[in-house]
C-alpha cells in the first residue's frame, strides 16, 4: 500500500488515482459544518483564516471525547457533501486534501480539478479503529464549538482510499 505524508507533496498529489489505498502520516486539521461556516464567512468578509490552509489537509470529523489515557476519542469521517457549499472557497486558497466520506458536488469536483486537489475517504463508522492512527490532537481554535472545533491531528499510517483524484476520477462513479 502506498504511503503518503500530509501536507501532501506534488508527486503524490498528481499520482494518486481514484480507488488507490494509502496509509497517510504527518498532520492534518479537523473541521466540519460549524467551523466551515465560520471560515467561509471570514473569506466572504475578506478576513484571514485562523489557520493557513495553503497546501494543507482538512479532515471532516467531530471526534467523541477522549477517555483518559487516549490521544483522541473515536473519530471516523462525517459526510462530506455538507461541506460542499464551503469547499471551493477553501480550495481556491490552496487546500490540497479533503478527507471525509461519500459523494461530492459537481462544483467541488470542478474546483478540485482546477486547483489540483484530492479527496480521500476514510471508512465511515470505523471510528475506534481510525483513532488508533492518531497520535496527538491539539486544539487550534473555535473551542466553543465543542466537537466541531478545529484540531490539529498528528497521524501515523491512517488508512484511506482515494475517492476523487486531481483529474476528477471518482471511485463512487462505477
Amino acid at each position: 500500500m502506498r504511503k503518503i505524508t500530509f501536507p501532501i507533496g506534488e508527486k503524490d498529489l498528481t499520482e494518486l488515482k481514484a480507488g488507490d489505498r494509502v496509509l497517510a502520516s504527518g498532520y492534518l486539521y479537523t473541521a466540519r459544518d460549524a467551523a466551515h461556516k465560520r471560515m467561509y464567512e471570514l473569506i466572504q468578509d475578506g478576513k484571514p483564516l485562523p489557520i493557513d490552509i495553503d497546501g494543507q489537509t482538512i479532515y471532516y470529523v467531530g471526534a467523541a471525547p477522549a477517555k483518559p489515557g487516549y490521544a483522541v476519542g473515536p473519530c471516523g469521517p462525517t459526510s462530506s457533501y455538507r461541506m460542499d457549499k464551503y469547499a471551493p472557497s477553501l480550495l481556491d486558497l490552496g487546500l490540497k486534501v479533503m478527507v471525509g466520506k461519500g459523494m461530492r458536488s459537481e462544483a467541488v469536483i470542478d474546483s478540485m480539478i482546477k486547483n489540483k486537489a484530492v479527496y480521500l475517504a476514510a471508512i465511515g463508522g470505523a471510528a475506534a479503529l481510525i483513532a488508533k492512527s492518531i497520535t496527538k490532537a491539539e486544539l487550534i481554535c473555535y473551542e466553543d464549538l465543542g466537537t466541531e472545533a478545529i484540531y490539529r491531528y498528528e497521524v501515523t499510517d491512517m488508512p484511506l482510499i482515494v475517492a476523487i483524484d486531481s483529474n476528477g476520477g471518482n471511485v463512487y462513479v462505477r
Partner: protein, 283 residues
C-alpha cells in the same frame, strides 16, 4: 393489578446503561450479519472494509469506547405500564438525566444543538432526547433505546403515495430512497420502513423498524416476503460497504405497518448505518 412504584433513579440508571452499552457493544444481529457479508463478498475492497468494521467493533467493545464518533441523538420508544408511578421525580426528567449521564460519564459525543435554525448552540449533554411514549396495560416500563447518527438519518425520506400506487409504488419509493442515499449513510446500512398510519406515524414506524433486530422478520408473511425481496434488490445496487462496491449495500430491511386512511398510503424510509445501535430493557 396493584400500582407499582419505580424510583426516578432506577429509570435514570437504566437509561444511562442502555445508551452506554449500545454505543460500545454492537448487537449480535448486526455483528453476525457483517461476518456473513464478509464471507459472501468476493471483491477484496469490500471484504477489507467489512473486516475493518469487525476490527473496529471489537476494539470498541474491548476498550469500552464508542463504535462510531457519532453517538447519535438519543431516541427512546417507551411502553409505559398504566399501573406504574414514578417516585422522587418525573419520568421525563429521569430519562433526560439518564441520557445526560450516559453521554457525559460514558465519553459519548454531544451532538445536539438547542435550536435547529437560529441558535445552533451545542447543549453539551446531548439532551433533549426524543421520547416516544405509549401507555400500555401493566406495571412495567419497557424501553427500547437507540443512538441515532445523522449521516444516515439525513438520507431518510417520506412520501404520501396514493393507494393506487400499490405494492409496486411502495417498492419503487423505497429503492429510490436507498439508491439516492448511495455511499453517504455509511453502508452497509439497515433500512427501516414504515408503511401506513398518518404522515408522522409512518416516520415513527420507520424509526421503530430500525430498532428491531434484523434477524427477526415482520410477523406478517406478506411483509416478511417484501422485506426479503427488497433486501435482495438493494444488494444488487452495487453500492457496497463504504460505497466502494460489492453485494452488501444493506445488512437488513425491516418493515413496520399500521392501518391507514382510505385515501392514503404513506411510506417512510429511515436509513441507519452499519452501526445500528439498539438496546432494550424492562424496568
Amino acid at each position: 393489578m396493584e400500582i407499582r412504584e419505580i424510583s426516578a433513579q432506577q429509570i435514570t440508571d437504566a437509561v444511562k446503561r442502555l445508551f452506554m452499552d449500545c454505543n460500545y457493544y454492537i448487537g449480535k444481529d448486526i455483528s453476525c450479519a457483517i461476518q456473513a457479508a464478509k464471507e459472501r463478498e468476493t471483491l477484496p475492497m469490500a471484504k477489507d472494509v467489512l473486516q475493518q468494521l469487525i476490527d473496529n467493533n471489537k476494539i470498541a467493545a474491548e476498550e469500552q469506547i464508542p463504535i462510531c464518533q457519532d453517538t447519535g441523538m438519543a431516541v427512546l420508544f417507551v411502553e409505559y405500564g398504566d399501573k406504574v408511578t414514578v417516585r422522587d421525580g418525573s419520568f421525563k426528567e429521569a430519562v433526560e438525566e439518564g441520557v445526560r449521564r450516559a453521554y457525559i460519564d460514558g465519553y459519548l459525543r454531544k451532538s445536539v444543538v438547542s435550536d435547529p435554525v437560529f441558535d445552533r448552540t451545542n447543549t453539551n449533554d446531548n439532551t433533549p432526547a426524543i421520547i416516544h411514549t405509549e401507555i400500555v396495560e401493566g406495571n412495567t416500563i419497557h424501553i427500547t433505546a437507540g443512538g441515532k447518527g445523522f449521516g444516515s438519518e439525513n438520507m431518510s425520506a417520506i412520501k404520501m403515495l396514493a393507494p393506487s400506487a400499490g405494492v409496486e409504488g411502495v417498492k419503487k419509493f423505497i429503492l429510490e430512497a436507498v439508491a439516492h442515499a448511495g455511499p453517504n449513510p455509511c453502508p452497509p446500512m439497515v433500512v427501516g420502513v414504515g408503511i401506513g398510519g398518518t404522515f408522522e406515524k409512518a416516520a415513527q414506524l420507520a424509526k421503530r423498524a430500525t430498532l428491531r433486530p434484523i434477524n427477526i422478520s415482520n410477523p406478517n408473511e406478506k411483509y416478511a416476503e417484501l422485506e426479503k425481496e427488497l433486501l435482495e434488490e438493494i444488494n444488487k445496487m452495487d453500492i457496497g460497504p463504504a460505497g466502494l462496491g460489492g453485494v452488501t449495500t444493506a445488512l437488513g430491511l425491516n418493515i413496520e405497518t399500521y392501518p391507514t386512511h382510505i385515501a392514503g398510503l404513506p411510506v417512510a424510509v429511515n436509513i441507519c448505518c452499519h452501526a445500528c445501535r439498539h438496546k432494550e430493557c424492562v424496568i
